[in-house]
């Protein structure tokens, strides 16, 4: 058994003994703590990992609680259902499903809204649900709520607080495992990736909208489950526990424990359950106490309790690594070139056109950024686009990769018209790109960054990930192996565990290329890959681009370094003020009078 298992097992053993000596009151409170942990897990995935801020989560919890309260109360009259205890199970299931449904409903208006606008969407939802609970008296019982929510039973055994304790504890541990499995799978990686850069995620084949909806639904699942358990624990539900400040309370729980850490909910939720109880006599100061805790946490533990601990451990690990690295430097050996099977065999350059733009035009307001530009990029060729600043080069790349939709003209990729295709669709069709301002997923490891790039080729489902099925594990091992090969390909394999933001700038550029290659592109768009690199790094980049070309991947290169462009390009197109002013092989471009004029101004002899 691994050493890391000893502490959690010990804690679980300790927790199993609690009901035997703690007395009903504290057992009851501990059950409440487990329930809050479950709810916090959902919020942790949504806010902590995916970075989507929810201030209306209590509304989702309320859905779970009210659904099971109403349904199980109705079904208790049906003898054959109630005797084995199915009425409660069905009630909880209904609560979870309803909560997921509402979660998806919240997600849709949240897709395009950002920052405070997103906060408003979630606040409104929470508010509407709360209002409905208060006002729809015939169904929800209004302010009084619903009393006499049945206690769960298994056959003839009625689950009192002590027995219910074990059920909820089991569920809580199961939820923690599911959280861990989800976060450490491509779903978790993709959510975190979204938080750092939606554009980069989309360019790697991640369907941004789908994943946001998914984050909301998964989060609502936990909220609904927590709410349903809450209803059966308290035996009544009323709107008091599902107001705006309760949503704030959930947020405080994960903030306190550490948002975006696996153990954050485990630390935050229990403390916030027990604290108000200990301060029971000071009930009139409740908001003051919470207010002070929030401010204290923000000042003293900005990453939350577990976030700070993790940070500390990370620092220590890095220190040890650095010492090892220093030793390694002395005996470094030259890299042996591997054949790189990952990108397939070397392909011969063909004359097939892989990308064509036909009279493409793009306007921003009244400004014509791209004016009837036509290009043909051949399979396995390096096609460069150069031009003075503001000529429209990046805009053209954004059009090709689907971030903008052209006003007129056509873009044909792989024989299909793709004018309106979204970036993630194009990525799965074999079009990859890098960004002018490097867009890495900063807080993820180098290896994880590359792993995100495999999204278009991953087939395992979220259920397989949550329960670690064989198919998922196999796929994960496969892509890990391949990702390491890609890192070797660009020469970064020794940095696989480093955080992407800690890489030197030149390495970051190469990592971005490795990530793009992981999508297995037919065409790679590079947006100023040499910007900010020194002469040596440019030389390495030169070799890398050629190595990619040999594999038969077409490359569109936007670049200012003329030496690099002239050296490696098969074809060069020159843009100026949004128009293509010249096209041809490097030598021809160098002597083209129009190009010289665009770069150096009008010739004196003219």
């Amino acid at each position: 058994m691994k050493k890391s298992w000893i502490l959690p097992l010990g804690i679980i053993c300790f927790l199993t003994t609690v009901p035997f000596y703690a007395g009903t009151y504290y057992t009851f409170l501990t059950v409440l703590a487990f329930i809050y942990i479950i709810i916090s897990i959902g919020l942790n995935i949504l806010t902590g990992y995916a970075g989507l801020f929810s201030l209306g989560h209590a509304g989702l919890t309320a859905m779970g609680a009210y659904a099971t309260a109403m349904l199980s109360q109705k079904l208790i009259a049906v003898g054959w259902l109630a005797q084995p205890g199915f009425h409660v199970l069905l009630g909880i299931a209904a609560g979870v499903i309803l909560s997921c449904f509402i979660g998806a409903l919240v997600a849709f208006p949240s897709l395009r809204a950002k920052g405070p606008y997103l906060a408003m969407v979630t606040i409104s939802f929470g508010w509407i649900i709360w209002k409905i609970l208060v006002e729809w008296i015939p169904v929800t019982g209004g302010e009084l709520g619903i009393r006499g929510v049945p206690r769960p039973n298994i056959g003839p055994v009625l689950l009192n607080t002590e027995k219910f304790y074990f059920i909820v504890m089991g569920l809580c541990i199961a939820c923690l495992f599911v959280q861990r499995n989800l976060i450490k799978s491509r779903f978790g990686r993709n959510l975190v990736a979204l938080k750092f850069s939606e554009s980069a995620s989309a360019s790697l084949g991640i369907n941004v909208y789908k994943y946001k909806v998914l984050a909301f639904v998964v989060s609502a699942f936990f909220a609904g489950l927590g709410g349903a358990l809450f209803a059966h624990q308290q035996n009544y539900v009323n709107p008091d526990t599902f107001g705006f400040f309760d949503s704030v309370f959930y947020l405080l729980a994960i903030l306190f424990g550490g948002a975006g850490t696996l153990l954050g909910p485990v630390i935050g939720a229990p403390i916030l359950t027990f604290l108000p109880e200990m301060l029971h006599r000071f009930d009139m100061y409740r908001l003051i106490v919470f207010g002070i805790i929030i401010i204290a946490v923000l000042y003293l533990l900005p990453r939350g309790v577990w976030g700070e601990i993790e940070g500390f451990l990370q620092k220590r690990k890095e220190k040890v690594e650095r010492e090892i690295e220093d030793e390694k430097k002395i005996q470094e050996v030259e890299h042996v070139a591997t054949p790189y099977k990952i990108l397939g065999p070397s392909a011969v350059r063909s004359n097939a056109v892989i990308l064509e733009t036909h009279e493409v035009t793009m306007k921003f307001g009244g400004l014509v950024a791209i004016d009837r530009v036509s290009l043909k990029v051949k399979q396995g060729c390096i096609h460069s686009i150069i031009g003075p600043n503001g000529a429209g080069k990046t805009t053209l790349l954004n059009l090709i990769s689907g971030f903008y939709v052209p006003v007129s003209g056509d873009i044909i990729f792989g024989g299909r018209k793709v004018n309106r295709d979204k970036p993630h669709r194009l990525a799965s069709k074999g079009l990859a790109r890098t960004f002018q301002n490097v867009q890495l997923f900063a807080n993820m490891s180098v290896l994880d960054n590359v792993l995100v790039g495999f999204e278009p080729h991953c087939r395992s489902t979220i259920w397989q990930a949550a329960f670690r099925s064989g198919r998922f594990t196999q796929e994960e091992m496969d892509i890990r192996e391949k990702a390491i090969e890609f890192l070797e390909f660009v020469g970064l394999s020794e940095y696989r565990d480093t955080m992407a933001s800690n890489l030197p700038y030149g390495h970051q550029r190469r990592l971005e290329i490795a990530r793009a290659l992981a999508t297995k592109p037919n065409l790679l768009l590079l947006d100023e890959p040499a910007a900010g690199l020194n002469a040596l790094e440019i030389k390495e980049l030169n070799r890398l681009i050629k190595k990619i070309q040999i594999k038969g991947i077409g490359i569109v290169l936007v670049e200012h370094h003329v030496d690099l462009v002239m050296d490696i390009s098969d074809e060069i197109s020159v843009l100026d003020y949004g128009q293509k002013i010249a096209e041809g092989p490097p030598l021809q471009i160098q002597s083209d009078p129009k190009v010289i004029e665009a770069y150096l101004g009008e010739s004196l002899n003219a």
Binding site: M120, S124, M284, I294, N398, F403
Partner: protein, 291 residues
């Protein structure tokens, strides 16, 4: 018809309060990209301080008004220093939580000082409804409308005509560039909080005679005004004010012809619908995402 006109006038009056508080949100957002999530509590604070000085202590109204505003300014400075400034560079949820926390502290403190019951705040221009064309209009409602328009005009003039106002707008455009141009951004940040807090507090003093003053009066009002600021598009003060008035009328119509309970449900559903269709608000500028 007269029923509708009645609704219209009180709708415009509550609406201009919503609009004012909404503009209060926008003032700090445009300069610092930070929202004060507890702004509703500042409305309450204005009303409560006004109540204490004017009703409880019997000070002359204008002096009481002046005293309240002075106190609000001091609080605003304190708040900016303690709960906003340290978190400007942190992630957005950090300042959401810190400003909310201050709001919670204010709410609970108010409950302890003034209790939870509504308190009567007599209007300075008379309590009797004026009868015109079969309508009963409270003078305070008219005062609110006039005062709100005056405040909006003054604010606009301040932004356009004074050097400090221009500095605020410059900071709104780019904090860093403003700092490089020699604008004292610390001062501007504090100033934006003072302006925002004062607008909210004045709104509180204005509305208190109509709704009664109570510790909880700012919670819902704050959330509604935030919704209006969002719908109007946080960057456009005029848009927010117009939205506030429209929202006030809508609320009046809904509670006049349907019933009060359903009012907020419909109104907030509309907020969500607007954000679904126009995520940047009705009057916000659509920006092309730069990739």
């Amino acid at each position: 018809m007269s029923f509708f006109l009645q609704i219209l006038i009180s709708g415009i009056s509550t609406g201009s309060i919503y609009g004012l508080v909404g503009v209060g949100y926008s003032v700090t957002y445009t300069t610092m990209n930070i929202l004060n999530f507890g702004l509703g509590m500042w409305v309450m604070m204005g009303a409560m301080l006004g109540y204490t000085f004017y009703v409880l202590w019997g000070i002359n109204f204008f002096l009481a008004f002046f005293l309240s505003i002075c106190l609000v300014c001091i609080f605003a400075i304190l708040m900016e220093r303690v709960s906003v400034n340290p978190f400007v560079l942190a992630g957005s949820y950090v300042w959401v939580m810190s400003t909310l926390a201050v709001g919670m502290l204010m709410l609970n403190t108010a409950q302890l000082i003034w209790g939870r019951d509504p308190l009567r705040f007599p209007s300075i221009i008379g309590e009797k409804a004026i009868r015109v064309l079969g309508l009963g209009i409270y003078p305070q409602e008219l005062l609110i409308i006039v005062a709100a328009f005056v405040i909006m005009t003054l604010l606009e003039a301040f932004y356009r005509k004074t050097l400090t106002g221009k500095a605020l707008r410059a900071t709104a455009f780019s904090f860093d560039i403003a700092a490089l141009m020699g604008i004292n951004t610390t001062y501007i940040a504090i100033l934006s909080y003072v302006i925002s807090g004062c607008i909210a507090a004045v709104a509180g003093i204005l509305i208190a005679p109509v709704t009664l003053a109570e510790a909880n009066m700012g919670t819902v009002l704050g959330i509604k005004a935030f919704g209006i600021a969002i719908i109007g598009g946080l960057e456009s003060a005029k848009g927010i004010f117009v939205c506030g008035i429209l929202y006030g009328i809508l609320e009046g119509v809904l509670s006049g012809y349907l019933y009060t309970g359903i009012r907020d449900i419909i109104a907030f559903s509309l907020v969500i619908l607007v954000l679904f269709l126009k995520p940047e608000g009705l009057f916000g500028k659509r920006t092309f995402e730069k990739v």
